[in-house]
Symmetry: C2
Subunit: 529 residues, 2 copies
């Protein structure tokens, strides 16, 4: 059934990041044309097809392209996708087969330029005899055209694709605090994310259990707060490798430094930062959230975030702000004194608001926009209008209400609650992730436009490098299609099943340890045992 490929000539009309006006040639395999995942907005394909020679195939910049050799994003895409496309061809044992094959008449592969309106809204791919093109608004959009493996017979089908993402924020969260994830596990996840057209890696890098981020400003945070000071940390080199690996795959890295709660590990390397809990009139020896009554806390956060803002190029920082337990604050006489001084009475949500407002404003002075968990909205903090709210909890009805409320208040929102993929259940639970309707809530068109996307969360209580990949894929792929594709053309689980089954085999073939959906087989089973 794997009998065709689609030949892509990618015309990148506007690149806002690194390269502009480049031409990129891409191939991709379609076991059946409809097996593209996630589903393009528009696709039509005919049975007309043209043979193609892998031996004569090269990626190249078109003459006249304003992007030239040296554009790192496209250069590395050329390098990465050739072996993905020509997997079998590159296998020594099978070389002979393709040498024979390449004797057949072939389509000439060449690059050319199509100038078009630079702000075109859609990405277009069209393939016909001797002519193929893809128009993308941005280089990142073009990268996401690279659905490219398992080519065996090297034919190219006549195909037209118009494509664009439904949501611009398509995120995936990894939690490297509850378990340390070795760098290769993160890089591999980024690879898989790109195959699924995810574009934001939300790095929940620190939390209560450990602080693996090796800060240059505060080295004690990881030397004392990581599981191990040298083996279970992310050095500055590690972090920049992640950012660079992600960037070349069109993925932003959104760092989260969650506070004032979820900071137990911070306290180890930064004495005095956390609230000392009291039992009666004496400290109990345990600690609560960051102490919001001390100016030193804000000075610390300010210095830490200054570093974070320069290490992570993304214009957003996730500040957390979830699940703040007031018990310890209430027990601490200093905090109680501060409450009185500030006129907060006994309403500790006001104290929480005070803290969050301070660090949001502090983030703003670093020219970064804040993303915060929904708690910050629920507790009625005064928050700048550009802040993004992130929904992580609630029943389906509560989630709809929250979407309604947050967008009515004019804030942008990211939806994660239905995509807590760390929760597992027996059977095909991908259908649950697939059936989410992110815009199914009461609100105006204006409100709906404030839903900028969604995010799959893989919290780390029960997950580390041993089970991350099979637990993520292809379950997260269900959310990927929901975030990319038109809901109307992808509403049927029954229709999705064979495409996703096929896509999962493609992930396997690309080295992603994606688990099976149900009984059956892939032509090439996972061999990395």
């Amino acid at each position: 059934h794997i009998n065709s490929i689609v030949f892509l000539l990618l015309f990148i009309m506007l690149s806002y990041y690194l390269c502009s006006f480049i031409v990129l040639i891409m191939f991709f395999s379609l076991p059946a044309v409809n097996a593209v995942w996630p589903m393009p907005q528009l696709i039509s394909s005919s049975t007309d097809r043209y043979p193609l020679s892998p031996r004569q195939f090269i990626f190249q910049y078109a003459s006249g392209s304003s992007a030239k050799s040296g554009c790192s994003v496209i250069d590395s895409a050329f390098k990465r996708y050739f072996p993905l496309i020509f997997v079998d061809y590159l296998k020594k044992t099978e070389k002979h087969m393709y040498r024979t094959f390449s004797m057949q008449p072939m389509l000439n592969v060449y690059a050319s330029i199509h100038l078009s309106f630079p702000f075109s809204v859609v990405d277009k791919l069209s393939v016909s005899s001797g002519q193929a093109s893809l128009r993308a608004k941005t280089v990142w959009g073009a990268l996401r055209g690279n659905k490219t493996i398992h080519i065996r017979h090297y034919f190219v089908n006549k195909t037209e694709i118009d494509d664009f993402p439904r949501f611009k924020f398509r995120g995936l969260l990894l939690d490297t605090s509850r378990h340390y994830l070795p760098l290769p596990a993160i890089l591999k996840t980024l690879d898989a994310m790109s195959y699924n057209k995810f574009n934001v890696f939300h790095w929940h890098i620190v939390d209560d259990p450990s602080f693996p981020y090796q800060s240059s400003t505060f080295p004690g945070l990881s030397s004392k707060g990581a599981f191990h000071p040298s083996t279970h940390v992310y050095s500055q080199t590690d972090v920049s490798r992640v950012i660079s690996h992600a960037r070349l795959r069109g993925i932003r890295v959104l760092p989260e430094f969650d506070s004032p709660g979820h900071t137990q590990s911070w306290g180890k390397g930064q004495p005095g930062l956390l609230t000392s809990c009291y039992k009666g009139s004496v400290p109990s020896g345990t600690f609560g959230p960051v102490n919001p009554a001390m100016s030193s806390s804000y000075q610390f956060i300010s210095r830490l975030f200054k570093e974070v803002a320069s290490v992570f190029p993304d214009p957003y920082i996730h500040l957390g702000g979830d699940e703040v337990d007031f018990t310890c604050w209430k027990s601490n006489p200093e905090v109680r004194g501060f409450m009185q001084k500030m006129g907060f009475g006994t309403d500790y949500t006001k104290l929480e608001s005070y803290y969050m407002e301070n660090i949001i404003n502090l983030t703003k002075t670093l020219n970064k926009t804040s993303i915060v968990w929904q708690d910050v909205f629920d507790n009625h903090e005064k928050i700048p209008e550009e802040t993004v709210l992130h929904i992580w909890k609630g029943s389906p009805a509560q989630i709809q209400q929250e979407l309604s409320d947050i967008t009515l208040a004019g804030y942008r929102v990211i939806l994660s609650a239905p995509w807590y993929i760390n929760h597992i259940a027996y059977g095909q639970d991908w259908t649950t992730y697939y059936n989410v309707q992110p815009l199914n809530f009461t609100g105006s068109e204006q409100q709906k436009s404030l839903v900028i996307g969604g995010e799959v969360c893989m919290w780390g209580e029960y997950v580390d490098a041993t089970n991350l990949s099979p637990r993520l894929w292809p379950r997260a792929s269900a959310a990927a299609e929901r975030l990319w594709s038109d809901e109307k053309t992808t509403s049927s689980v029954t229709d999705a099943f064979p495409r996703l089954t096929d896509f999962r085999c493609r992930l396997l073939r690309r080295g992603i340890q994606a688990e099976p959906l149900f009984v059956g087989h892939c032509r090439h089973e996972y061999e990395g045992i």
Copy 2:
């Protein structure tokens, strides 16, 4: 915390299989003495310890041992366990450390013989200054003493262990029909089984979806019934590799050829074997269970089982016999005619009994004992008294009743129902497997003695090589301890948690992709990404 090892001198007093009267020297690491998993029946250890030189350490047969070099089971154990014990020592980068270390005074390692009563009931390990011994009834028992990694400081604690398994059948089922498992995945599972003291690999090798067993008598079964005739099959060589790999680790291979139901894939290569289902008076084109009305069916089973009996050396064959659907039989006029002829009326359980009795007797003529799923007992087939019943279903109360009923009827029984490990749930579900009390049913001591053991079942609907290891381990380890250890000394989940957490890290270190129990870390995280 990893600061000691236990030095074992294994005296194998009786070997019934290959080697007799051999001496085996073994070391094992104990991060803390109680971290042995599964828990030995009796263990005592003191803080007295003796340094030990890895550079001077060799495995050797004692002079006077009646087993000598050439005993494959022990030779290969020598070879296998040295690198497992001296993991760090063998790492080039860390060699220097141990060279330095080996300058310290060391315990002389030597082998000696202790003659003892050949039929001793327990396996004993004792370690004291310059003297260590383990007595095992069999070579297999001795193999299970090899709990042996993560030695870093090379000390040996003064320790006494008396050990023996609670149940003699400690099985694990893999299903290679719903998904094909490449050979390395099976071999790796056998490795992990041996670390967990499992001793029976129940190979559910064929079923409805595919027939990967490459039969020499009926090559059509796999060429037509496997997912792929050449890549998704187990050749005779593959099968003998599995049997040999298992044997060297003290594991029996119990093959299952489940019939008369669960045989859809058989029908493809053996036309006429399955019952043709009828819609009214015409065949519908679909097929049901093996046709029990045709003598050709029994001739086929007889020839197939003759091959199976010679390929698999184990004295038992699992015949299945579960979930027989009567619908198709009822629709088939030939089968209805046979019912009438045999005087079965409309009671199709009698027809099922007739079939099962035939193939059980047929198995008996091959000098093999049958194991069958509980359905065969539930449907009141007349079955030979040596047949073993295998419980796979029911509520806890129903399971207790079934145990009671089967043992009252005098049959031996294997328990699997509480250990369907393919069923997953969020959180620490290993505790469920740990809390099973296999002998908690109404019955005499005689009845209880008929419970020969239990088996973890990993059915393959949602499992293949991508997720097998992290889904099996350490969840199956919970059952392993229940089957090996004294229930009284291992009744607490709270006590088991730190030991199992530690054991899981040891599995990781030995290359088993075992998933985490909860938040935390291993000194060496999984790196096989």
